[in-house]
């Protein structure tokens, strides 16, 4: 009986004309989205390669200690699976006067949007009359008079309906993936395909939540017209309202000072205040070397000074000691002010972290938020993926700076007149290479969201059984 009911439910849905229409719509939308996003990815990748080349050529020609940090800004390659989840825009990392504002008003379409909006709506439209429709037709009484338990009926209705949606999802997704694979400029390795598989699984968990909502409303109201309205109301609240409100509600509940104010304060601490302190410390050094200072001032240019120093070993040693003390004075000023700004930064970012945690907690009430976080992290374009890149980047920067410092120390030994604005040859510097996190790492990052989605499913299923047991046929 279980098998028959399942086949009946599946056949009902598949041979419904709406199934054909929505499968065509989703397939068409996904195909266009993937083709556009694929081109966008290729452009981004070319742009990334161009950035690397521009940086390399520039550093080879103009590297100097003073501004080496600005030159060695590590670039992040675009994530391949960004084709499925746009996630956090890479533009957000850059503060620029010339930004593309269109994305602010109209965020780009992606697979996540197709699932969160179209498929969830379809799930509701397919399930809202699961029981009420049969009750109105009188078939529910007939089915239950055949010794079929209510639990078994809910399972078959749920599985049959979900299977039909899964078939549509597989068709759409497969066409999208085949289109991507046919393009030789991108290769999806086993890691990517596994991540795609998990994204598919997450999509099923997400869609089933709304399928269950439709079924519960159907059992609760007993009327198809009321059931569809109630389920669409719940859909609108959980899909369109709660997730969008969450960051704003969190920012009201837990205030963080403005980032502009914080940046201005840090700039003053590391700028004007640092300079004042540095100059005061240097004054103390100047007072210790009055004669040397007069010699430096009287020398018309660097060459004359160098000649004087070469002729007088004592003076040269004094000059080296003087330079070292001046450098120490500035290092001290930098260290004091950096510690001050670090304190402010720690305080500011701890508040930001608390606000982000609160935002996540509020938004997790909505399955849309859980799904979006999980899929973007799985695709390598989410918050976790960004943190992963920053970790790798930080480790590389440490080794890069060690290399630069060693090179500077070597140059200083041979060049007495070295200063931070002189060219240094670092053509043999270590190269940065980045591989996206493996799928197990991504999975463990998204596990909590998967669990929340599963808990939603379990709770809704229990509610469904309770509600259906109370339903009068």
């Amino acid at each position: 009986m279980f098998k028959e009911l399942l086949i009946k439910e599946l056949a009902d849905k598949i041979f419904d004309k709406r199934f054909l229409w929505f499968t065509i719509l989703c397939m068409f939308t996904l195909l266009i989205t993937e083709s556009v996003l694929l081109n966008d990815y290729k452009t981004e990748r070319n742009d990334y390669n161009l950035r690397l080349l521009t940086q390399k050529e520039f550093i080879d020609k103009y590297a100097h200690e003073n501004r080496i940090g600005d030159m060695l800004d590590i670039q992040r390659p675009p994530a391949k699976l960004r084709l499925f989840a746009a996630g956090i825009s890479s533009d957000m990392e850059v503060n620029t006067f010339t930004n593309n504002s269109f994305n602010v008003l109209f965020p780009p379409i992606d697979f996540v949007l197709i699932i969160t909006v179209i498929y969830s709506l379809i799930a509701i439209l397919f399930s809202h009359n699961s029981f009420s429709g049969e009750s109105e037709n009188g078939t529910l009484r007939l089915i239950l008079s055949n010794q079929v338990s209510r639990v078994k009926l809910t399972i078959t209705k749920f599985l049959g309906g979900m299977l039909s949606i899964i078939i549509s999802l597989i068709i759409s997704l497969a066409i999208g993936v085949i289109y991507i694979l046919m393009d030789n400029s991108i290769s999806l390795d086993s890691n990517d395909l596994m991540a795609l598989g998990l994204i598919f699984l997450l999509s099923v968990f997400y869609i089933s939540i709304f399928y269950l909502v439709g079924m519960i409303c159907s059992a609760f109201t007993g009327s198809s017209s009321s059931s569809v309205l109630l389920s669409l109301f719940i859909w609108a609240v959980f899909t369109l309202t709660i997730p969008n409100l969450s960051p704003w509600v969190a920012s009201q509940l837990y205030r963080v000072p403005s980032i502009n104010k914080f940046e201005k304060e840090v700039k003053i601490i590391k700028g004007i205040e640092r300079d004042d302190l540095g100059r005061n410390l240097c004054k103390e050094v100047y007072e210790k070397y009055p004669d040397l200072l007069n010699i430096i001032k009287s020398a018309k240019d660097e060459k004359l000074l160098l000649a004087k120093l070469e002729n007088n070993i004592g003076l040269k040693n004094e000059y080296v000691a003087f330079q070292k003390e001046i450098a120490n004075a500035w290092d001290k000023a930098n260290a004091i002010q950096s510690a001050k700004s670090e304190n402010i930064s720690v305080d500011f970012f701890s508040k930001v972290d608390r606000q982000i945690a609160l935002t996540k907690e509020i938004s997790c009430i909505s399955p849309v938020a859980d799904f979006s976080y999980a899929v973007s992290d799985m695709a390598g374009s989410g918050i976790h993926a960004e943190a992963y890149f920053k970790d790798i980047k930080k480790n590389f920067e440490v080794s890069l700076w060690q290399f630069v410092e060693a090179r500077v120390a070597k140059i200083k030994k041979t060049d007495v007149m070295y200063d931070v604005n002189k060219y240094i040859d670092i053509k043999d510097r270590p190269e940065f290479s980045f591989r996206e996190e493996n799928v197990s790492g991504r999975f463990s990052a998204t596990l909590s969201y998967c669990i929340v989605l599963l808990v939603f499913n379990a709770l809704l299923y229990l509610t469904l059984i309770r509600q259906f047991n109370r339903m009068k046929v």
Binding site: W21, T98, N100, F106, P108, S225, W248, S251, K264, A369
Partner: protein
């Protein structure tokens, strides 16, 4: 007879479950949006008071407009902190989206968003079974067996249904205005209320479009289930798919570098100019301000030309959707749209031109006597232009085409 139909429609709808659900959804969404955005506006105003430039500070920043409560648009970009540094470089401050990344996943829940998405959803859903339901219940046969003319019935249905739809919207918006804006003492002037009235007028036209579309689908559909299904497909396409595809599709036509590339080039111009200046032992002929300014201007102009071309194509594509047209109209009306952002940035560039030759300290902060940056938002008269007329015409077309097609389809409608 029309009056009678309007009355029947109103009474039937107002006491329905559908009306209750929609009223709750609209009231909750609209008032939450107004409340949240009012709070956000006040916080941003405080921020502006802290950051506004004093004399000799080369900062460009403007106050947030109270209209950002209704259409937030690009107000975060407009109210960002811009600093003019050595060589006329424009340094841009970070935005809250850069630190709390979760903002990137969701839309700003302002009044415009609620209207654009949720109210259009309610409008099309509300109308999607107005005719099919009567057909399924058999009342349509009864009505027309009494010698009632179809045009009078369809007009009464449209007017009655539409009035029922806008009652909760007007009530919710009025409630929100009184409780959150007047009581919160938001500085609204008389001219601002005119702006607000135009805003509401656009909203009513927009919703009339979705209502007409829903009614048309209801006329041409065989059953309520199909009508609702197709209405929702049309809604998803017009509200989500077309507006969100525009920018991506436009980028396929014009190859535009990323902002990261532009920033790298900008940074390299500065580093190279300073490096060459220092290593030429401070030769006056190589003073770098002019070089930095000139080269930055060129990069910015090239990029902006390409960006404007992309935006122009994207605007044309997205304009097919009434949701985009409403966004363009309302953000421009509220001074938070593309037009205002471009105007503000032109003022920043003018300010940069004024201070570009000033000397700077070791951190690039300009030193000298100059008038602080000031900016006033566009007057209402600037809003009325050709682009606005075009977007408004498209909104009107979304009412006229379904109404005309629906009228003719209804004349041939089989009521059995």
């Amino acid at each position: 007879m029309i009056k009678l139909f309007i009355k029947k429609e109103l009474l039937e709808n107002i006491f329905s479950f559908k009306f209750l659900i929609m009223f709750l959804l609209m009231f909750f969404s609209l008032n939450t949006a107004i409340f949240i955005m009012t709070k956000d506006y006040k916080a941003r105003l405080q921020n502006y008071d802290i950051l506004k430039p004093s004399k000799n500070e080369a900062f460009a920043i403007t106050y947030p407009t109270p209209f950002s409560i209704f259409a937030h648009g690009l107000d975060d970009n407009i109210c960002n902190l811009y600093q003019i540094t050595f060589g006329g470089q424009i340094e841009t401050g970070s935005q809250k989206q850069a630190i709390n990344k979760i903002y990137n996943f969701f839309n700003t829940p302002d009044l415009l968003y609620i209207i654009n998405i949720i109210l259009s959803f309610c409008a099309i859903l509300f109308a999607s079974d107005l005719i099919t339901r009567e057909k399924e219940q058999g009342t349509l046969k009864l009505i027309f067996s009494n010698g009632i003319k179809r045009p009078a019935f369809s007009l009464g249905k449209w007017i009655g249904g539409y009035i029922t739809l806008i009652i909760p919207i007007v009530l919710s918006v009025l409630f929100g205005l009184i409780f959150f804006i007047i009581l919160a003492k938001i500085p609204f002037q008389f001219s601002d209320f005119i702006r607000l009235l135009i805003f509401l007028f656009f909203v009513l036209v927009y919703l009339a479009g979705f209502f007409s579309l829903g009614l048309f689908i209801s006329i041409v559909s065989r059953s309520s289930a199909f009508s609702m299904f197709f209405s929702l497909i049309v809604w998803v396409s017009l509200v989500f798919i077309i507006p969100r595809s525009g920018n991506l599709v436009a980028k396929q036509f014009i190859n535009i570098p990323s902002v990261q590339t532009i920033e790298i080039k900008r940074s390299q111009i500065f580093i190279k100019a300073i490096f060459e200046y220092i290593n030429s032992h401070y030769e006056k002929s190589k003073i770098p301000q002019g070089i930095i300014n000139q080269q930055n201007d060129k990069i910015r102009e090239d990029y902006l030309n390409k960006l404007n071309a992309v935006e122009s194509i994207a605007r044309k594509i997205t304009s097919i959707s009434p949701a985009s047209d409403l966004t363009f109209l309302c953000t421009d009306l509220c001074n938070t749209g593309f037009r205002e952002e471009q105007r503000f940035k032109t003022f920043v560039i003018m300010f940069k031109e004024q201070v570009k030759n000033f000397d700077s300290d070791s951190d690039g902060n300009l030193v000298g006597d100059f008038t602080p940056f000031s900016y006033a938002r566009s007057p209402l008269s600037d809003f009325f232009n050709l682009a606005m007329m075009l977007h408004f015409s498209i909104l009107i077309m979304y009412i006229l085409i379904p109404v005309i097609l629906g009228y003719y389809a209804f004349l041939k409608f089989d009521v059995r």
